[in-house]
Symmetry: D2
Subunit: 347 residues, 4 copies
């Protein structure tokens, strides 16, 4: 059985061709190792401009779990803990990477993948003395695990409660590009850089071969961060390949352009699926959508397309996850919709 | 001051052009994530053939520290420790990555970067009860940190004592290519695969963009290894890029060919330096050499070349480290030697 | 304000006088250190007889958190996790001690402090691959944090599912004495020793000065356990004082006798409180009870008695925790009830 | 074979009778748990007076390894390391407890168990960047593992280099009593409290049943220390028993009185052994001595006395360790010396 198209995730292909070209063009120039090369330096400058924060520290690492475990290890003393949505990647899908650095995660129930300022306040209020851990970091994803995005006022409220309660706010931007250009987005990069203490800009899921750019805003969190990267195995000898890619992504807007394409494909998919009469698990405006389909329809779709069944809804229906990317062709989208229509049509 | 050439290390350039081509050629094919793609599968087969062990488990990760900390975390119970040369990369140059997984390293003094079976036996004999840690893994590098290689009978003796004392033998092969084709090498890959419990084949320092291939021989150490990779942040979403590279390196001998070039350049350097009357810190036969030079000569060389001063020998002389690679040009070598001759000549 | 009596916990006093006498009597005999003394040996024999398992391994440590973190560190590989009631002591009241050993706890919601075989099965079913942790240990308390006990058939069901799913079952017996002699108890020590892989018998909360006896039943979990104790700081130089106390507790039934007194006091309190018309948070049959009282009544009681307000029920009422012990006098109980009656009486 | 006397260590007996009396006298008074009782509060006041530092923080824990791992975990960020004598208890005899908290120990070779300011400076100088750990704490024992003590000027030099290099100085006082009253001692408690950032006063090896008093001098290291104690399993429910003991030890000089007796016995042993013509491993002035004896003499002594053979000197001789304590009788000392004389006499 050969499948027509894989909607499993946004890393089914290699890199955007311009990224590969950038690697090839700089390939034989001798550079210093470990991210001290001229490409990383230049990419760092571009990102600082993009976030409108010349004082930020930028560090490149190879992937999202690496970014999360390194940042969180750096933010916390041994007895401090992390408040996160119960669906958070660090809480479910990182094989206990954060606990392996010694820290507890408080998984806060939420329907839409988002924390609220109230939920943060509540967790902190419950932890009153040294018999319990002490919440100190707040972890959010933008876009979230279910494709939603934070509105500006939501993030402002979270940031405010973090400052009030002396918590560090860390934003996982594995799909930050998609979130920034979502139809309902009203949060720009410079605003995120004002509201979060640390965040990362995801490359892997937005056209890079590998790579995430960790951005440290809060000056008190900058010291000796490279030690953490090295100690956790994230300091690439050829750090240049991370610099070269981010340079290409940010030198003329490629980063957002790729995200726009991914979102456009997802929206087209959503519209078509809705037209077939189906509903969705959450109101995603980014490149992951979660339509709820009859199990019989899912089985038939699986013969031609690759995707994950996300969660059981009831005995007869489940939510599936469809992910689009910079590489998704509109033809694949249309073909999927046509097949869905055919399958769904009462015979 | 623009330098003529950098001998800092073997990762000053990107990848060998064939590696980049391989990435480009497979770039747009949709593949599964996390190393379950067809390229990793194929590369795995090639490596199993190369090591003559069809039952081995192969896992690809992005770098050497990542490989070391993941493997050692998997080998040990919390109270178990590692015997290693005092100069070992894990003991000095990984920012405490191994201790961060909870384990003590016994740094055994040695002149040539090599453990002996006797030194292992001695460390084990000193650890007699539960007030002390319990040595359980032996860590060696081949080639070593000072460019030397293990002879077959040395590795056999180490392997034997490990089996006798119920220790796991782990070989760090960051520069395994160079060691395999060293002039004084009598150890082949299939032999290493018989003598070690786990080892890794280094790609980063031998022509790859990034990537090391962890090879698990001992069946009792294979279980759930992917959990360790994921938990430590080493499971790349686009694992395909590791597969594609190792496929290229091993499909027709490129791996050893690149190492041969690096060693040839190093030997040419060594010969020329010796002809100037200088001696060496250790008898390296691989792509790192450590000539001992007057500090005044070092200062002048530094105006034109990049390299590290390795260690102070006495008030007037120091050992420097020169590293060659697949990308080193013979012209750079000859120019360096000509400059050295000029500088060294009594005026 | 001097309080008439403290119902804060079951460790407000020192040790039962017989325990102090036992320490005094053996005080000047020279013994080996670290639990290898004759008193520990003898206490070990007594406990093996009591649990009807001559092959068990017994180790003494100073407290409950020490016992829990040491045992769980020994049971798990780094990627493995623990299923526990959300109210579990390890999940809430040990300052992240378990996460500090690197392991995630799955806090399972439950009303009565108890896990069920179904809830365990469900957690395991959700963890399907190496992107997630792998549940491997089940943690239960008997008596639970809210004073309830497991019935024999409940523990049998849990033990069965653990065996089926290859999980280690660990029972925290901080208040095991009280659980064993609870009015609704149908579980005896030898049965627990058949159903659990590891458990501990709590001394601190049942008359000892300090001390818990860890009992390892499953032979595969016995190896090198003393290394874990030493590494975690739990190996007392004068281990003899733990041996002496458990010897006294188990030589003629003192352990259960003290628990019976504590339960009797709690039952008397419960009965009296119920007679005043109040209800309870959970149906405790052990030495912790959780009556729900109007906040105004609580305030007045606080002027004369020490106790914790456990949880808010609604705007006007809260559950408090009252704990009795071997040292609680019936007079204190009666005085408390008389005062409660007076306070509760409509004036 | 019944042995006449055990010189294995200074914890072969229980507690000094006055300690047991103190426990008995306060036994039935109701107190708060976890070290918040009136006895701990009072003991804390006494110790602050004794060290002439009213602002110090005092915390009681059950043993030395517990103290060391808790303090060092609190002092360090994950990438920071500890400089210690190679013979340090934390480096050899704590089963990797410190590495289990994630930190590397630099074991500095030394003949007499003591660090020097130069050796500290040297270790720091070797650690230059984020590829290596960053030395941040200095660990010393007073008395040392081989019975020697720091002279005032030595400790001043160490303290000075620590301040200069921004290192925390931690002094392990397991045998601090003995060190303070050593014949060659010129360091008083208030001076130690001025020179160290943190230290502990050992109770277990100087007459207490269990217990060490951690003293935090440096204000920046005080915050949230109780979280560390709880997380590492060191917060005793009946913390009162630690308070009661230190209260007794410090209320009228018992602490130093017991140490003086132990030292006197050791000195008497040393003198007698020297009179037999034997030499010593190190010039101990405290309650541990290390005479070098012929193996044949050792064998015969072992028939009547318990002690450890410390280290092999050559084929025919070894150093043994003899430890005296508050409980050692002069008669036992004299009997040992008489037997040694008999055994040593040429027949």
């Amino acid at each position: 059985m050969v499948q027509k198209y894989l909607f499993f995730n946004d890393y089914s292909e290699g890199a955007h061709p311009r990224i590969l070209d950038a690697l090839a063009k700089t390939n034989l120039v001798q550079e210093l190792g470990y991210g001290e090369d001229s490409l990383c330096v230049e990419a760092t400058h571009l990102i600082k401009t993009e976030i409108a924060n010349p004082g930020a520290d930028i560090h490149f690492v190879s992937g999202g779990t690496q970014a999360n475990l390194t940042v969180l290890a750096s933010l916390l003393r041994p007895y401090e803990s992390i408040v996160a949505p119960i669906t958070a990647h660090i809480n479910i899908h990182e094989a206990g990477a954060i606990e392996a650095t010694g820290h507890k995660i408080h998984g806060v129930p939420c329907a839409d993948g988002k924390l609220t300022s109230e939920s943060i306040r509540e967790v902190v209020a419950q932890h009153t003395d040294e018999h319990m851990v002490k919440p100190k970091a707040v972890f959010i994803s933008h876009a979230t695990e279910v494709g939603t995005v934070y509105k500006k006022e939501e993030l402002e409220a979270i940031s405010k409660v973090c400052k009030e309660l002396n918590l560090h706010l860390y934003l996982d931007g594995a799909r930050l590009g998609s979130a920034l250009v979502a139809a309902d987005a009203d949060l720009k990069l410079p605003e995120i850089a004002k509201l979060a203490d640390v965040f990362y800009i995801g490359g892997t899921k937005n056209g890079a071969l590998i790579g995430e750019a960790i951005v440290i805003i809060n000056p008190s969190l900058k010291e000796n961060f490279r030690y953490y990267i090295k100690q956790r195995g994230g300091l690439l000898a050829k750090g240049r390949i991370l610099g070269a890619q981010f340079l290409e992504l940010f030198k003329d807007g490629l980063f957002l352009e790729l995200a726009r394409h991914a979102n456009m494909c997802a929206e087209r998919l959503s519209r078509g699926i809705a037209e077939c009469g189906y509903t969705f698990l959450a109101p995603s405006s980014t490149n992951q959508i979660f339509p709820i389909l009859p199990n019989s329809v899912i089985s038939k779709l699986k013969q031609s397309y690759g995707f994950y069944v996300w969660t059981k809804i009831d005995e007869k229906t489940s939510a599936i996850r469809l992910v689009t990317s910079w590489a998704t062709s509109e033809r694949a989208v249309d073909e999927f919709l046509a097949d869905l229509k055919k399958i769904s049509r009462p015979s």
